[in-house]
């Protein structure tokens, strides 16, 4: 599964993307896995209220299931326009 990071999430983690094997059932489970990896992941995911998530390029919530999903992205609230 591709896991993408944007804006300060990308900067804190220090890379734009991970490709990981995971059995995580939901986005929240995936976050717990990532947090356990390294301090920079722990820091990036410290406050989930400050984060948004997209599952296969659609906005989703942290309880979204990951079965069959190819791409998950984490980023702060959007500031376009």
């Amino acid at each position: 599964m591709d896991v993408l990071y944007f804006a300060w999430v990308r900067e804190r983690i220090g890379r734009p993307k991970d490709n990981i094997e995971t059995g995580a059932a939901t986005v929240r489970d995936l976050v717990e896995e990532l947090r356990a990896r390294e301090a920079r992941y722990e820091m990036a995911f410290a406050d989930l209220d400050a984060l948004r998530v997209a599952v296969d390029q659609e906005l989703a919530d942290f309880d979204a299931p990951l079965a069959g999903v190819r791409e998950v992205a984490f980023f702060p609230p959007m500031t376009g326009g």
Binding site: W8, A54, E58, F75, M78, G81
Partner: protein, 142 residues
Amino acid sequence: MQEEAFDLGAEVNDFTSRQSGMGAVVSFTGIVRDIAAGLEAMQIEHYPGMTEKALAGIAEEASARWSLGDVLVIHRHGALAPDEMIMMVATSSPHRADAFQAAEFLMDYLKSRAPFWKKEVTRDGADWVDAKDADEDALSRW
């Protein structure tokens, strides 16, 4: 979605000339504003792939809600200087109220639901622009 600058006037003229039977054309342009610390650049990051889907989805939603002839959305990414145009939307409709409301709807959704992030670069450093509660609140009216 494009990195290069666009010509607002040419886009608005093209958009308008493609319309027929429309009584109203509204355009909105967002421009990089300088900030107190002295802005050197506004960097705009986006999520390739999702951005196009999100913009198309927002435009479709507007077309479903209002009687529109056409919708145009252009959004730049990359590094922009103060007073450069960031993005534009244009709407056409037989009626002015629809054209105005659809343009405002597009802007409100673009602000908070399309995957763009702005970073302000000044002499003192660089900071990600925080999302405004007001922008999120603006969605609730639709």
